[in-house]
Symmetry: D2
């Protein structure tokens, strides 16, 4: 598509990440003409603050780009070349619930893993399918660059249920890894080759040096030296077991801590949960966001403020801009993406979505064939992919039994009464955003199920 001036529509344009996205686009010098930041009524104020900053950033750049603000998604989509998504259904309040309800029953409360991640999927999948429906009508040639979480399950749903092929799911995890791990061995990113494979927030990687030597174990060993490992700010940094990493010969992603060191991760989360001064991650992020928006309002600011990097999503938009540029200019750059497997991971069906190193060009992502995984990783991978498939289907159908199955098989949710209880409370708490489960929620409300966590109960009562 090289040459043609670009229209970008960003769903969730009022997000605090937008300045990073703008910075990334400015850096790449693509022939962008218009950027449309779409948001919903509730996000209008933020949208305007961010929108003005975005325009100032472009005005300070060598390029002439109009930043449009709209609450009308269809207006933004019409004729778009790239649609990027960074929206959060239910805003940070929903994240508070995703985290606190599980934690109130002593289980991991996290926005993309465990019970919280499942509910983020339940809320978000219907919305992205709706966006895709609009895209088929308004911009049938556009690429959907998704960085809304859970990015893998959203990509899976768009391909499987939305029947929309032009989607690439992104995540910033791999970028952090590729920035930090070379430093551990005194190398630059260019001096190493990374091969990622797995699922979004559940991948592993191998590293080769310029001589073709597999240096994964060597770098893994340095991870224990206490240096920065590229684990995102939102993940507590407990060490992996050395013997495990040595055995697997791959390096797990930061989120694997939840699966490999659940006890310790949970203990840390519960500590924060119980401490009114910190609160859960969502509560911390709320503060960061407030500070960011205060900064954004400064009419003299016309660049991305440094503080933004402290959020878990740093580099997110960098990978998005790289993807847009690679597609637009047919660069065939290696990027880690969520895309259709096509055999890259032969332990999973070819038609499901995986997160893998791929070459991205004008025709989309072509994954590298990674080959079969060793048994331990294969077992985890197959469990998690099937759990994801249950979640995606339940998100579309509102099948409560299937939602319960996903809960019971999810390794971060201890099975039994607690699991069912947390499922039920989350359904009630997120009622507003879960029309597909309306019937079941009505039954639960009739049963008189009460939310245990005080804060969430009150939020829900107040209609938040």
């Amino acid at each position: 598509m090289e040459g043609k001036p670009i229209k970008i529509a960003t769903i969730g344009g009022g997000s605090s990440y937008t300045p990073e996205l703008m910075e990334g686009l400015i850096k790449r010098g693509l022939p962008i003409k218009e950027i449309w930041l779409v948001d919903i009524e509730e996000g209008k104020e933020k949208q305007e603050i961010v929108g003005r900053l975005a325009q100032r950033m472009w005005d300070a750049s060598p390029y002439q780009v109009d930043v449009h603000l709209t609450l009308d998604r269809r207006e933004a989509l019409a004729g778009a070349d790239f649609v990027t998504t960074q929206f959060r259904v239910g805003l940070l309040d929903a994240r508070v619930k995703d985290e606190r309800i599980p934690l109130s029953y002593g289980m991991v409360g996290q926005e993309t893993n465990g019970a919280g991640g499942i509910f983020k999927a339940f809320r978000t999948i219907p919305v992205i399918l709706d966006i895709v429906k609009d895209m088929k009508e308004l911009c049938p040639d556009a690429w959907l660059i998704n960085f809304t979480n859970p990015s893998g399950m959203l990509t899976e749903s768009v391909l499987r249920y939305g029947e929309w092929e032009k989607i690439i799911g992104l995540c910033n995890l791999s970028v952090g890894v590729m920035i930090n791990e070379p430093k551990l061995v005194g190398k630059s990113m260019e001096e190493l080759n990374f091969r990622f494979a797995g699922l979004n927030h559940f991948q592993w990687h191998k590293i080769y040096d310029k001589k073709g030597t597999d240096v994964t174990r060597q770098i893994a060993e340095r991870l224990y030296d206490g240096k920065d490992t590229g684990t995102p700010a939102n993940i507590f940094d407990v060490e992996f077991f050395r013997e495990q990493i040595a055995q697997m010969g791959m390096i797990p992603c930061g989120y694997h801590r939840y699966y490999y060191r659940q006890d310790e991760m949970l203990a840390h989360m519960l500590e924060e949960y119980r401490d009114p001064k910190t609160g859960t991650r969502a509560q911390q992020v709320k503060k960061t966001e407030e500070e960011l928006f205060a900064l954004y309002q400064d009419p003299m600011l016309h660049e991305k403020p440094e503080q933004l990097s402290r959020r878990g999503g740093a580099n997110y938009s960098d990978v998005a801009c790289e993807t847009i540029a690679s597609i637009y200019e047919d660069r065939n750059s290696p990027i880690v993406v969520s895309t259709r497997n096509n055999g890259a991971l032969p332990d999973l069906p070819p038609d499901c979505v995986v997160e893998v190193s791929a070459l991205v060009g004008a025709a989309g992502a072509v994954p590298f064939a990674f080959g079969p995984l060793p048994p331990a990783e294969r077992g985890w991978l197959q469990l998690m992919k099937n759990m994801e498939l249950c979640v995606c289907e339940a998100a579309v159908t509102g099948d409560y039994g299937l939602a319960l199955q996903a809960f019971l098989m999810n390794p971060l949710i201890p099975s039994g009464d607690r699991a069912k209880r947390v499922l039920d409370e989350l359904l009630i708490a997120h009622k507003k955003h879960l029309p597909q489960f309306a019937e079941k929620i009505a039954l639960l409300e009739k049963e008189g199920i009460e939310i245990k966590d005080d804060l969430v109960r009150n939020m829900t009562r107040q209609g938040l």
Copy 2:
């Protein structure tokens, strides 16, 4: 092989189950000539008690069969037609450790599932591979009928590492189900067709009536009416979630309670663990065994005493005798067995071992093709099979990292420090029976790791 007089060698012949095995063989009227009960020095007393009872049982039958007692396995194997295995490496004391160490850290302590099951595999796999080595030399045409637990992993190891094809792994679970579930709908076993599929102690089944109608959900519904469900005596009987069962359209086996209702199962086990009056299952079984052996000593007894049925393994030997008869007479009877998959469960590789309904005849077991499982069950199945493969390989190689991987991925072992600690304590406690891990155990002992559970610590110090 019909016609030829049969020699049976039973490894672990001193087991309290032997009278049931004898009863089953007597019932079937096969042309048996000799039965050899093999045991080890530590089991000699029991072997003699049981051996005398066995001989009395045959003497009271219309058949003339000599029951031989020996401590020399090779003597028993020489020229055998069937080798049955019901031995327990480390006797019930080992089971006490398998149960109490995990429970002392608040996790499921059970002899075939979770940490305990993994260690039972670690102790037993090298021994059965040794038996197979002898069989290749002494009775290369014999069938190995294994009902030592964990039966699936043993069968897997014998096929994969022992390279011995003539093995069938058995379990009594399905028999209990087929006896009890028909009653729930007022039918006889003959009026229903059962199709089992999964792994040992981790299978599901479907039921069809004589009109070909799938009556699984209908029978599943009756499971909630409080009637006896065929769950073995050793499994605490918490209900499955109705919504889950309705969704899957299959009925899980009793052991699935550990996976689907872990919280409740664990609570019950911890209660027994903490109550000195009950103790864990192994401790209860010890008492039952003592009572049984007291009964067995009665020189007037020449039949299987009723009390034996109260043990978890009831019907075990029934299915063993049925299998022997089906092979011997080429009966092509449908039996639920652990055998090579060969495609019956297309979600797993053809070469691994699964537990499925199969026709058993002179050429062994031919599984019925069950077809693909729905995503939730597929995920569980693939996780568990890969966990088993890690366990089998670690049992053969003594690879500590792989043992740790198996622990971390096992759904009954919460991941983190506790998991590693339980692994380490179990290694130390079972040192005597784990030569393959000797080096690592020496290191752990040097580190001064102490076993937390008082009883097990003392047993281990006393060399039990």
Copy 3:
């Protein structure tokens, strides 16, 4: 469904095979109430002859069964319990074309293999899909017992495109084998276990004796002794290569001669083709049929005449009756059927149709897991299944390019201009029965393509 009186509808009821079907049903003593023989206008005369004989056969039996004759398929289907199919779209005239056109270009002309088989599929698949459409409306609980050829591709199409699960595809080949091969080693059918696997008219089998020994190679060796091998009357009996059979360790079906000994088979067929006294198989069968119908007209005849057995389809209806009885009485009998793979042949996808040994009961066919094939047979199998999938799709869509692909990959059709020419002539010759290809046929006619074979050209001109 046991107990309920049975209504059977037979599509193509005027077939000369009907007396055999009647005999089989009478032998089994099922509680049949009505039999409806459906045929088309062109077959009315035969239908009446056969129908009267059928009624006489039942009248001479201990059962009171009404044989209804109708040209209205829907009347016959209404409320049917079993629908059997033995129709031939285009009658024997179509078969003449299927055989002669390929032979006129020096390639195998056979009604279920090669170009002829592909065209039989093209003509028949739309009709059986139409029947299924009626069944969904008129007898949604009925079983479709298909013995119209090509039986495998019809079953595949009904499952894949008709979305009708209750179908079993049958073939008489395996019955002939099981009758004849035991004799080669002086045994009865009951003394051997047969395991069939492959595709319809393209399967292999293994044989085990009552001791579980694989006696396949031993029996294969006897096939060269000149005794009758169970090869159907319609297959010329050239020997397989000994070295090949010894290597594969399985016995191929009679039709494999076309694939393993193409040169010799073709030479024989060309000889008959060129000899006006014999003519191709269809022409021979035409004569046999005339003789049969002459016999059938004898009002004193009230049993199946011996002469019927000389046709290639002997035992066809026997296996059909056995299947009906097994379903009706939930017998769980081992029968060789075309049914969904479900993993039985792990070298093919679980959802495609294979021909395998299966247990047939009230819930349908449950295939035995056969396991992976050795590379040579795997290659053949995968080629042929994919060829079948192309044929089925082309039969439904009328895609000429796909039809050409099927031709070019079919091992019995030499690729190149001849292949395309034969495809084009067959399209023109069968125009009447190929509405899905109407557009392409019109183009071919416009191009002025002439049929080379005189007989077929004349038949086509005369509208036969």
Copy 4:
């Protein structure tokens, strides 16, 4: 491995291709120190001519490289960094036999496809496995860059039986395609992305433009305009069927003509075979070779003569040099290679060798995941891969039955007596180079089997 001075050992160094290889290496400016050209006694003369030319080429270049000539393979391998193979077991005389014997029975006689290709594999696989054995001892870190044919089967054998991972199989076909097809649409190679997938001499490709549009069908259409299509000089250029290519949506490789237009290809080959003035390809190549070597002897020549390009293998060494450079400098260049599948073609097992677009770097080739093929191509692919597996195994074991199976399933060999006869004659003709089949050949000779083709019979008698 960047930086280290390179030692290259070329097995079959006396080949007429060597000057091209030298040219390619010179062009790339790699820090090469020594090049060892290995050949056998029979090739000594050519080796010396070519070796002197090679040295002159380097002397005329800016680099100081010593070209060593040796008949001692082990001397050359010792410490090598890259081993390239371009040897021909039995020289062109063997190719004459591979071509003429099949043609004498009216079937395709070609050196890498059909009966000839199978025998080239039989002769060559034991030799390359021997080379690998030496490499394990003498240069265990070297890369084996194979361009000896049949390149795919050799790579398969080295990975499967040689257990040597560092091999890349090459072929010049894809290069020709990428040079010629862009011209058809007035583009440069850089303006299109090619994705190849299949097996060596049996692959297909898709083409995308810089906008990501699949332009395969558009380019395929231009193939019929009579322009040069990149088909190698050794393949007769009959057109593919338009309807077939349109249906598949991929472009087949030149060798596919043998499979899709067998009649026409065969007719052309038979014409040449019967014409004493042309003779088969091998005979033509012999002449070209003589001319080339005459040129090579010119002491003034210090560059690759233009005439070399007329051979079928043009660009062969270009892709070899590119591969060497990509490995040495870790370039991660896209190259079409034979390498382990690893899921790239999910229709084949992950562990077998396929020919696919891959990124080649210091760690070897990482294939792009191509995804499932449509049914027609899937069927062909699976047939051919399994045929290859039979050939590789027979080459290693000397199993005659398996060789016969490979013959009977090969689409270029009509099955039946002719097939077996051609197999037997080829065994006798190549006796000298087939020690693994010695026993069978002795039996055949005892049977008195005579070679039909006069030329080959005489060659064989003369010990050629």
